[in-house]
């Protein structure tokens, strides 16, 4: 799936932004360095020139970016804000949790906020502190927010288009490690398919690997190794939507296999994997009479440099967990 053909995930993001701006002139972009530079990853490259007066370099203030996006939406625009790295969303957390997520509820629908917040996240690029942090569990605990995490160019395109069209706020988490390393086709008709569910990325009857974002690809690699070296056929479920989660699909795929491993880059405690396990336990307590293992980052801060290789959920750790779950059967 991370083959040679098609566009990169970064190009898919850029194309989605460009098409959304072309289709709806209420769409504006704002963020740090998204203008002339085109963003530190070049996700907005060329848009500043192509859409004059609709792409804005902001001052260095995340709270101001999210807070003013709320006002831009109230003022009739459709802002797509970039937070340079997801870790820095904490600078704006009060605006996200207290304001962005609650205006519709607070005003009984008088105001609703078609705001999309894009942010690169995830490890593997030897980045400094904060830049690789995965905050999805904290965001999934915020009522009134939708959280989406694509793992493939096709999703990056269609889910970003859907996020921008959504009348409510969407946090769009972009796996930075995959920006240039993953290629794939864009959706045929250039639009999204309106499927807001989880997706099975690989079939397999023995075991279910559940993940999202960057670690979907680690799971796929682990699944390949499990098949080749251990004759264990693991299915890989890509949640895609982290809030709300597609519980129905999750239960269905887990029930079909009775063996489950959840994988994510965020820390283990109170991580989103816990929600996945809790959801499965309640629904399938008598079917999944097996431990559901979580392969995650440990409960320590994200370490510098090469140490991240030992910190992140690796192919090796996933294979090991999968074998444990299967052997127990």
């Amino acid at each position: 799936m991370s083959g040679e053909s098609g566009v990169t995930l970064l190009e898919a993001v850029r194309t989605a932004l460009s098409d959304a701006m072309a289709d709806d002139d209420r769409v504006v972009l704002l963020g740090q360095d998204v203008g002339r530079l085109g963003g530190v990853f070049r996700a907005t490259e060329g848009l500043y020139a192509r859409f004059p007066g609709r792409v804005f370099d902001t001052p260095l203030a995340e709270g101001g970016i999210v807070g003013s996006s709320i006002g831009l939406a109230m003022g009739g625009l459709v802002p797509v804000a970039e937070i340079q790295f997801l870790g820095f969303l904490h600078q704006a957390f009060h605006q996200v949790t207290q304001q962005l997520a609650r205006y519709r509820f607070r005003t009984r629908g008088r105001f609703h906020l078609p705001v999309t917040i894009r942010a690169p996240y995830g490890g593997g690029l030897r980045m400094p502190e904060f830049h690789p942090d995965s905050l999805e569990a904290q965001l999934a605990n915020v009522p009134g927010l939708k959280v989406v995490a694509p793992a493939f160019p096709e999703d990056a395109y269609s889910l970003l288009r859907a996020a921008i069209r959504d009348p409510d706020p969407v946090l769009f988490l972009e796996p930075q490690r995959l920006y240039r390393s993953v290629r794939g086709p864009l959706p045929a008709d250039g639009a999204d398919d309106g499927d807001f569910g989880a997706r099975l990325r690989r079939p397999g009857d023995d075991l279910l690997l559940v993940s999202w974002g960057p670690s979907v690809h680690t799971c796929l690699a682990a699944a390949a190794e499990l098949e080749e070296r251990h004759a264990v056929r693991s299915a890989v479920l890509d949640l895609r939507f982290l809030s709300p989660i597609d519980h129905a699909r999750l239960h269905q795929e887990a029930a079909a296999r009775r063996r489950v491993v959840v994988v994510h880059e965020g820390v283990r405690s109170a991580g989103l994997g816990a929600e996945v396990v809790a959801s499965l336990q309640e629904a399938l307590y008598d079917t999944v009479s097996l431990p559901i293992l979580r392969v995650t980052a440990p409960d320590t801060p994200y370490p510098p440099g090469r140490l991240e290789d030992a910190y992140l959920p690796s192919q090796e750790k996933i294979v090991e967990a999968a074998l444990r779950v299967v052997d127990r059967a």
Partner: protein, 346 residues
């Protein structure tokens, strides 16, 4: 007063920081160099200010009777709020309140019965009408300011001519949101008028412990736009200074920061007890600034209104509040299902 050409921000900046004042505490005009304030302004303002007092009184007593939740009166700050709001046009302009600017919300178009409904927990009846360009009260101090900057920015991007009038308190000026909103508004040159209601307190914290700045309005220069401090108990000065700032914003001249220096004559809210942290003598002294008494003294002193005429207005606004309250109480209280509505679009 539109013909006046003085640049108030420039005049203030050239001075020693003392707030601009046209109307003295005794109700006398202290600026012979200026034309007399328009009489229609006086009438509309005084009615709104008296309505505000009647509302404060009613809500406070309802709270005492356990019939209404926490209430934050605007008592003592009426000239700052009414004088500034009278400078905008609700038909085109946006209002972004902090939380106690009731008279501004009313003039902007939120019906009194709806406002009361919100205080009584009738959340659906309290919904701000679609045509009213106003944000709800903000419970998170200063968080409304980036929204105000964004609304004004959208107006500029879309080439509309509305101005955004935002309020915050002296305490709010210490939050990062205040700073980020002001700086963004400056860079983008948006049509925003920010009125800082400096009522000397953030709950128990006096402004002297809030900042070492002599005047908050000095902050504006650090954002590259004009700032001006005005006697917040002087309806005419507040109005004129705001009018000029709105005019500048409408003409594309960018934001203005107005510090209205006033005093919170009452408690922070109905659960607060000021005697724990401030001196009765201070309150007594501050009472002499009372913006309503000041305006009444001017009106009667200048022979523009008789005491009787003012009594009539007071009786009318009290009746208005009573009638609106009955209506508000007639609205249904929300059922538990409301918890699940309006989280996302259905």
């Amino acid at each position: 007063m539109t013909q006046m050409s003085t640049d108030w921000a420039a005049e203030w900046a050239a001075g020693d920081g003392e707030p601009l004042r046209f109307l003295g505490p005794d109700g006398g005009l202290v600026r012979p160099d200026l034309p007399r304030p328009p009489d229609d302004l006086l009438g509309e303002a005084l009615r709104l200010m008296l309505l505000s007092r009647a509302l404060d009184q009613k809500c406070t007593s309802l709270h005492r009777q356990g019939r209404l939740g926490l209430y934050a009166p605007v008592l003592g700050q009426e000239a700052a709020v009414v004088g500034s709001h009278l400078a905008i046009d609700p038909a085109t302009d946006w209002l972004v309140p902090a939380s106690r600017e009731q008279p501004a919300m009313l003039r902007h178009g939120w019906p009194l019965d709806r406002l009361l409904a919100s205080l009584l927990g009738r959340i659906d009846a309290a919904r701000i009408p679609d045509h009213v360009r106003m944000l709800p009260r903000q419970q998170s101090i200063a968080s409304q300011l980036p929204h105000a900057a964004g609304i004004a920015w959208a107006t500029a991007i879309r080439g509309l001519d509305g101005v955004t009038l935002a309020y915050c308190g002296d305490g709010a000026t210490s939050e990062g949101d205040f700073h980020e909103a002001c700086n963004l508004a400056g860079v983008m040159g948006v049509p925003l008028v920010l009125v800082v209601i400096n009522n000397q307190y953030a709950i128990s914290t006096p402004v002297s412990r809030q900042t070492r700045a002599i005047r908050l309005a000095h902050r504006a220069r650090g954002y590259g736009f004009p700032g001006v401090a005005v006697d917040g108990d002087d309806l005419f000065a507040v109005h004129e200074v705001t009018r000029q700032a709105v005019e500048r914003a409408r003409a594309g001249g960018g934001p203005t920061m107005i510090e209205a220096v006033t005093y919170r004559m009452s408690f922070h809210n109905t659960s607060d007890n000021p005697s724990l942290y401030r001196d009765p003598s201070e309150e007594a002294e501050a009472g002499l600034r009372d913006p309503v008494a000041r305006l009444v003294a001017y009106a009667t002193g200048a022979g523009l209104m008789t005491p009787d005429a003012i009594d009539v207005v007071e009786a009318e606004v009290r009746a208005e509040v009573a009638a609106a309250l009955d209506l508000a109480l007639s609205y249904p209280a929300p059922g538990p299902e409301e918890i699940f509505r309006h989280v996302f679009s259905d």
